[in-house]
Each structure stands twice: as C-alpha cells, then as structure tokens.
Symmetry: C2
Subunit: 359 residues, 2 copies
C-alpha cells in the first residue's frame, strides 16, 4: 500500500488472469485459447499492414472494421463499437450504463472480472445464485436493479440460457441495460444479436480472442442500438481515442471475412469437445453440459485443487478457481484433437493412481 | 442524451482528436505525427510476429518490452509500465494517483485531454495560468494540491520547463504524485527520467507515437519508482489485463532497440523545425520557441481560424484550438523537409493575399 495511491487504487481487487507460463512446455488448456492458428488471410493482412503508414494514427472510429462486422451481422455500422479486447469493452460498458447506488445483477458463478469492474467504479451488485446444476434462475433477474450482465454461454460453467429466457429479462428490465456477454457463443450457443432491432436495452459483447483464434491481437466489440453505442463512444473518447491499432484492425477485418476458416475451426473444437466429455465421463467425472470451448468438470472422489496441481506437474495446464461452490471443479479448455488425446490418456492414469493411493 | 446512459456518461465532455481526413490528400500537419516511417527493423519485427502464436494471449506484463525500455533508460524492469498509447497511460494515472475532493493542478494551456480525464473521474482541478509568453510560473505549483501534471515540452506551445524548476515542484509536493508528460521530449527537451531514483513521487510518461514514428501501433509507457508502477498495474488489471497486443509489443521492442534510426529521424525533424521557424518569422509570424515536433505560431495581422480554414482548402492541414488566449494560434506539426518547403511556399502566398485583400 503506497501513500501515493488514490483511495480507489487502495480498495480495488485486481483481476488475476490465467497463467501464461514461461518455465516449460505445457499442453495449455487454462485460458480458453483456440488451438488452431488464425486464418492464413489474417497473417497476410498483418504483413500487408506492416508498412510506413504505421507512423500515422489509426482511424479512431475503426470504420472499416465496423462496416465488416455490421455486414456480417446484418446491422448498421452505427450499431457497432470496437474495443481493445472484450475486457475493455466490458470495462467501458460498466461505466457507460451503470450507476452508483443501483444494484446491478449477475450470476454468482460467472466471469470473475465482473465484480472487479464493479469495485473499480464503486458499483453495488447482487449475485443471482445459480441452481445446483449451475443453470440460471430467470426470476432472479426480474426485479428492480441498475442493470444486468450475463455471459451466454456462461463461464466457467459452459451452460447456456435460452433465448426466450433472455427476452423475459430484456422485457422486465426495459429501462435498464442488459449486457449479454457472448465471448463463447460461436461454439454452439445461440446469439441474441437478432434481438437488437427489437430491444433498445440490449448490448451484446463478443470477442475475436476465442473463435477467431486472435487472443494475441486484442479485438472485442459491442453490438446494440445506436444510443448505446454512442454512450460507449463517449466513455472511450474520455479515456483513449485510439484503442485499436492499425495492424489489429486489419487483422480483425480479415478474420471476420474468412468465414469458412472460422466455421471449420469452431466445428472441429465442438467435435473434440463432445469426445472429451465422453472420455471424462468414462473415468468418473461429472461434466456440466457445455456449449463453449471449455468444459467444467469435477471428480466426486478427487480434490479439485490437488488434481489441478498434479496435472500441472505433468505438463497439463487447466484452470482452477478456489471459490465457494466450484472449488472442486476444473475448467478445461478444448485444445486440438491431438492435445486432448494426450490429455485424456494422462488424466486417466493420474486419476487411477490417485484413487488407488487413497484406498 | 439516452435514458440508458449513466450519470457519468451524461456529464462528461469527450476529447476530440485531430482529424484523420479521408476526403483528399493533405500535407498532414495536424496531429504531430512523424513524417518518417518507422525503422525497417520494426517492419521486419511485425512480419516475424505475424504467426500462429497470435492465437495465444500476449504476455500481460509485457516483460520483454519492459526490459528493453528499462535497459535503454538504465532503470529496473519494475520501474516500467506499458500501456496502449500514452493516452491510456495518462487515463490510468489520473485514476491511480488522484483523489476526488483534492484539486489537481495543470497549466491552463496544455494537453486538452487532462480536463477530460478529470471530468471522467470527477476530479477537481485548478489551472495554473501560463505567463503571457506561455512559460510556466513555477510558484503556481508550490501550494497544497492533490497532484500535478505538466507536459514538458508543453503542448500545444512547445515550450520547455527546466529541470531545476521541476525539482522544486517535486520537492514541494513530496506527498503527491507529479506527472511529467514527456510525449515530445525527444525533439530537444531534457528528460527527467534521471530524477526517478531521487524522487519517489515522480512519474514520467512517454510514447512511441511521435519520435519513434509509431502512432499507428499504440504504445505508451510510464517510468517511476516501483510503488507507483504497482499502483498503475492495480488499475490496469481492474480494467483490462491485456492492453498491449503481441504485434505491438514486438514492434515497440524493435523501435527502442534501433536507436541510430530514431536519432537520425529526430535530428532531421529538429533541423527542419529550425528552418521552418525562420521561414515563418520572415513572413511575419510570431513563433513560440519550441523543443517539440510542432510549432505554435500566430500572425498579428491575420485571424487564426480564418487562416486555418484557408490552409485546409489548400490541402494544408494544421491544428487550430478555438480556446481563450490561443484562438489566434496555429499548431503546425513538423513534416518532412520537402513537405515543409511546400507548406512555407504556399503559406507565404496565402498570407500575402490575405493581407493585400484586407488593405
């Protein structure tokens, strides 16, 4: 604690992101990255953009990228906001739409960055307690509040909320913004982008980090009616006019345009996921049904933290959250078919060994 | 104004950045960009980084870049903070070090983003009125306050504050953070990085956008003792863990390492600046002494706004601020030798025409 820190700096609890290890080679299944490289067209676009124009500021409005995303989703360019990763888009959204002294609501088990944003902006929040099977109780969101945010599919559970439930939440909260965080929607979830025309309070947030294999390039975006996007621009332009660099914008355009490649990769991940789920069940894991590029699983006879550490020693990196209700679970990103084959084989041996020792 | 906007969103006054025109070809002297392209080594580094690793998140701590900058400035890696452009670094700094209900101080004529940040975070501020010649009155900063920020060289004036004056400000305000914004220091100013070891309240902010020709890549950084950098990291990690993408980090490392190229470009700009100053004086302009890559000038017989508009029509884009005390001035970025030759020639004719018409 430094005397130079502001009261806010002293009181916040920063987010701790998944480890980016440098000590040795892991099968890295801890930060929901895509196992497949970005489209070759993305690589080409970056190389083409590596030129003398880098001396100039980027387009602060990201017009070309906004047009590309708008076309992809059949929206207007004015309904698209671009940010430096969806974390930045979410950070801006909390400040743009939520007020102090009005509780916002999100699930008790969800993206652990939400309470961090709330604390940063001194926003009060209520946690909607998920059911025992980690599904959302819609009624929890049908009450007075200062705004709602729900990841769909939820993280780290992978569970989805159906579109009719989201409509009910949007309708009940018509004077408050409802943010649907669709970071993982491309792996089998159903997007609510199509509801934007009917709901002026709906903001959909997506990212290129997962399904477009571009975690390293930092592009996220928000979709909503123009007045919501205008609000986001007001906040952005009060912090940093140029959040997206020239290279990243070009890479993102190429990634969105190469729909075939994107669909192939997403489909491979979905197929692998289903096989991994079966494999895990066979060795005694309980697996939450997932529509994301990760699965959330626990073994009734094995301590989650212990298993996490043993896997780590064996070069298998997954994510473990030491939090109430989920402290026996592991979040396992879906890697390539080959990686998951090795993972399952090693895991099977480790599980057998632990169980035999414990007996 | 939307009912969905938070109170903060409703009340802020976003920054308006210099135009990035798309309508026609200009000699673009309005946003202090470098006329020379980035180092060829930067282009090469970007092309090498355009690979399949982009599927992975970047290093959230930017270790390689921090080490490179630390080495360049003979600091420790722990004394370096990296951000997505110096605007982001400044936005984080205001939140990290300044408190509501304590006036911060900055010059009345300085970077127009400062009051925007203050408004965003509901910080009170006092403006230190520059003298008639736009120099800083040091006494204005020797009083009770919640923190200080001074650009050195100042923008848009180009004037510098000498190091002894900065020491007095640091010593008087030993319990408050003093930010020296050195965005333009590489064009003849004297950096106060060397004071960091002696002043725990000093934060120096720099950028790669100007002297390293990388406005398009978005890298800024802050230098200071470890407790200040730790505070910045707390705020960053409460908003966005990965603000700097893989490509930008690699480009920045190459840019810092190619010191020879950087010095050549900066030196060419300084030489051109001195010739432009002479040229402007010859046609009747009053020019504020500049150590930046721009000059601030006014013509006693010609209205600044009118001249700005006529220049624009003639394909010469400079920056005009319609603000008290400086509304007869133009801020002119130093372009290449060739650009500035054309600029001076056209300006000379325009000035002659205006004056002859007005007679």
């Amino acid at each position: 604690m430094s005397k130079y820190w502001s009261e806010i700096t002293k009181n916040i609890e920063p987010y701790v992101c998944g480890e980016q290890p440098k000590d040795k080679k892991y099968i890295k299944l801890n930060t929901n990255e895509n196992p497949y490289p970005p489209s070759p067209k993305v690589i080409e676009a970056i190389k083409n953009a590596a030129n003398e124009d880098l001396r100039l500021y980027p387009d602060p409005n990201c017009d070309e990228l906004r047009e590309t995303i708008a076309k992809y989703y059949k929206l207007d360019k004015k309904q698209v906001f671009i940010g430096n990763g969806s974390d930045e888009v979410l950070a801006f959204s909390f400040l743009t739409f939520f007020n102090q002294d009005e509780d916002i609501i999100f699930p008790d088990i969800s993206y652990s960055f939400y309470p961090v944003y709330a604390k940063l902006y001194k926003l009060d929040y209520r946690l909607a307690k998920l059911k025992e099977d980690f599904s959302i109780n819609v009624e929890d969101f049908l009450c007075e509040n200062g705004g709602v945010i729900i990841p769909n599919p939820n993280a780290p559970t992978g569970r989805t909320l159906d579109i009719e439930a989201i409509k009910r939440i949007l309708e009940y909260n018509s004077n408050k913004v409802v943010i649907i965080d669709e970071a993982y929607v491309d792996f089998g979830g159903e997007s609510v982008v199509k509801l934007i025309k009917d709901y002026s309070n709906l903001l959909v947030v997506q990212t290129l980090s997962k399904s477009r294999s571009l975690a390293g390039i930092r592009i996220g975006f928000a979709l909503g009616q123009e007045e919501l996007i205008d609000g986001l621009n007001r906040i952005k332009n009060s912090m940093n006019s140029y959040t997206v660099d020239r290279i990243a914008a070009k890479a993102a355009v190429a990634a969105i345009e190469d729909e075939t490649y994107f669909k192939e990769c997403a489909s491979k991940i979905v197929n692998t996921r289903e096989r991994v789920v079966e494999g895990l069940k066979k060795i005694g894991f309980e697996v939450i049904p997932s529509k994301a590029n990760f699965i959330f699983a626990s073994h009734p006879e094995i301590n989650g933290e212990k298993l996490f550490l043993i896997l780590r020693e064996n070069g298998l990196l997954v994510r473990y959250f030491n939090k109430p209700r989920i402290n026996n679970y592991l979040r396992i990103t879906i890697g390539s078919e080959e990686e998951m084959g090795i993972f399952l084989e090693k895991l099977k041996m480790i599980v057998a060994e632990i169980i035999s020792k414990d007996k």
